[in-house]
Symmetry: C2
Subunit: 383 residues, 2 copies
């Protein structure tokens, strides 16, 4: 049910012809209310796609009636013509639904640097607007896929209300945000400001901790829409906890489907002086190609972990660091400990525990290995 | 002739048994004077190998009589035992040559996290000390190789004096420094302070601009030793220019031999507000795995160039950027320009010109593509 699991939401998806394969490539999601509160967080990339520029304006007043998402093209680096396409798409949605275009979010994903076919897009919007249904969530999760091999969806039940979500993303997965599109809906009744606070806290702990390939997208957007249809107003604390659950599930699904990956790596950093330090250390390891290639080769090369940590500004002493890989402490106090042969890296899930020993802060960063298939998929993407 | 091209230097290389292949793995280079001035720059990685920690002390007074380099092990993350091995190596060199151990630099390269065999190392030093010769430079360049496929050497003739150099490095090539060892000798007569100034300027413009895989080593060291045997004291300006020439040659050789690479990419950033901005922009592109994989696939994916620039803090407007690849301007003012099909990326050398259009500063960053062979070599290195 995904984004239509919560009461008050309808969705429809169509094959508008933006994908050459003829697969679903346009999803429309409408909030029927009574509330139209919303919040969104966006890529921190300074080169932003046209739908990001548009959507940042739309979300400013916390009011969202609909969101339209397309795959088959990112509409990024497409200049004034591209922005007009985004604008025209929102106008078309508004016209068909009888809402204000200023309350319509737009998301696009796919190749950057090429114009979207505006006619196909507008025709697709018209078709979708006539097909809206309360069980349209599953198809919507398929319509936003690019190189994803499976749709990513989640439903979390709260006391008297529901949170549902979908996400796409298989490459360019790096904060902030992890490169993807995600829409999360709820029938809880919360004002936009509280949705915004909950969403920022949840993305900070989930999407922002996924760093598959260090490449930050131009099109990232996580949107949260609340219909209020359940009539329940939870505490922000409770709602945030459930939202973190929902986002965590989506993030693990994104990691598991990362382009070409053969290992899902969890980097746990403990004993840091601050959470920022823990995140920086985890990310430095997550972005180290030599470490990632070693994991692909089932090689517990802990020296590359320490070499990566050494590039950070985090508080640490190289001769106080312990590194444990899949339960085997291979490095103690910055020197060799258990033999690396004891580490079994044959499973897809790999756990790397880095103990800095200088404080009490911790963070987990999720990443993937660097594989032949990653190189292959990303050398062939646009051809 | 490499490091023995300049008068006053003798070198010897031996197979000490550190490499399991039986290849040359230890080089000893001595400065017979009359001057013993020297300078060195080191990795900025905060996790430093034992020979780096030692050599930073040795160079402090600008006096260097000898340098001993081994492949077959980096002596990094090897704790007190590892540091004692470095110390004992310098002591052995000092004893055999009749110099002070505090004037003996030590460099190590190879796998990190494993102890070097101290006995083999000290036996190798004794053998090398008895075999020093003024034509030992070529063998020295071979003895320091790890995954390098060819030795890297250079000789530059100045008016009345000579600069010779060698370098090794094929992976972990990222500033500062580009991950490698290099020794440069000259028979010019310059005091240590001027050598230091010349070396910092030269490495800033050469070694620090090579960023093959974004992975910073723990063992980088570039050493400059002057014997004064020519009796010529050039101006620092002239000497620096020739030193830049020598370093440039070595850096291009390192780039051309980078592990698994199929393209040598020159990223020219023009029109930046400052040189720092130009370097940051160039480096962001050089470290973008998606861009590097695209070049491997001969795909002129300029959108990935702009997406990478967007992650920097450099002054720029995404809608004012031009990108030209191998002479074809594929992006103008942040939008599509010439068709990407016009770009021929079949040659090994690839030129990417990024025109930011906000100032007059420029910089060039050298990198390589991300290939199947890179993944293969670095997933198998330690096994």
């Amino acid at each position: 049910m995904t984004v239509t699991a919560a009461a008050g939401f309808e969705a429809a998806s169509v094959a508008a012809g933006l994908k050459s394969t003829g697969a679903l490539d346009l999803a429309l999601l409408v909030n029927r209310g009574p509330s139209s509160a919303g919040a969104a967080v966006f890529t921190s990339n300074r080169a932003k796609a046209n739908p990001i520029i548009w959507s940042q304006q739309v979300i400013a007043d916390g009011d969202v009636r609909a969101i339209v998402l397309n795959s088959g093209g990112a509409n990024c680096f497409t200049g004034a013509q591209g922005f007009q396409t985004t604008h025209a798409t929102a106008e078309a949605v508004a016209e068909h639904l009888g809402v204000d275009a200023g309350d319509v979010l737009v998301c696009s994903t796919g190749l950057i640097g090429e114009q979207l076919d505006r006619e196909k897009l507008l025709t697709g919007v018209a078709t979708a607007a006539d097909a809206l249904t309360t069980d349209g969530g599953e198809d919507a999760a398929r319509a936003i896929m690019t190189t994803d091999s499976v749709p990513k969806t989640v439903t979390v039940e709260g006391p008297g209300y529901t949170i549902g979500g979908m996400a796409k993303g298989a490459g360019m997965l790096a904060p902030g945000l992890a490169t993807m599109l995600s829409v999360i809906t709820t029938d809880a009744d919360l004002p936009a400001a509280e949705l915004d606070r909950a969403l920022r806290e949840a993305t900070r702990l989930t999407f922002d901790r996924l760093d598959s390939d260090g490449c930050m997208s131009t099109n990232d957007q996580v949107t949260l829409m609340a219909s209020g249809a359940s009539g329940v107003t939870p505490s922000t604390e409770e709602f945030t906890l459930l939202l973190v659950d929902a986002c965590s599930s989506l993030v693990l699904q994104l990691q598991a489907d990362a382009e070409g990956a053969s290992h899902d790596i969890q980097i746990h950093v403990h004993g840091a002086a601050s959470e920022d330090d823990a995140v920086e250390v985890g990310r430095s390891v997550a972005r180290n190609n030599l470490f990632k290639a070693a994991i692909f080769g089932n090689d517990p090369n802990w020296g590359r972990v320490l070499a990566a940590i050494g590039t950070t500004s985090a508080e640490f002493d190289p001769y106080a660091v312990d590194v444990t890989m899949n339960g085997v402490r291979v490095c103690h106090a910055g020197g060799p400990d258990r033999p690396r042969e004891e580490v079994d890296l044959s499973d897809r899930i790999v756990s790397v525990l880095i103990e800095l020993g200088v404080g009490d802060a911790a963070a987990m960063i999720l990443t993937n290995d660097l594989t032949h298939d990653y190189v292959h998929e990303n050398s062939a993407y646009s051809s």
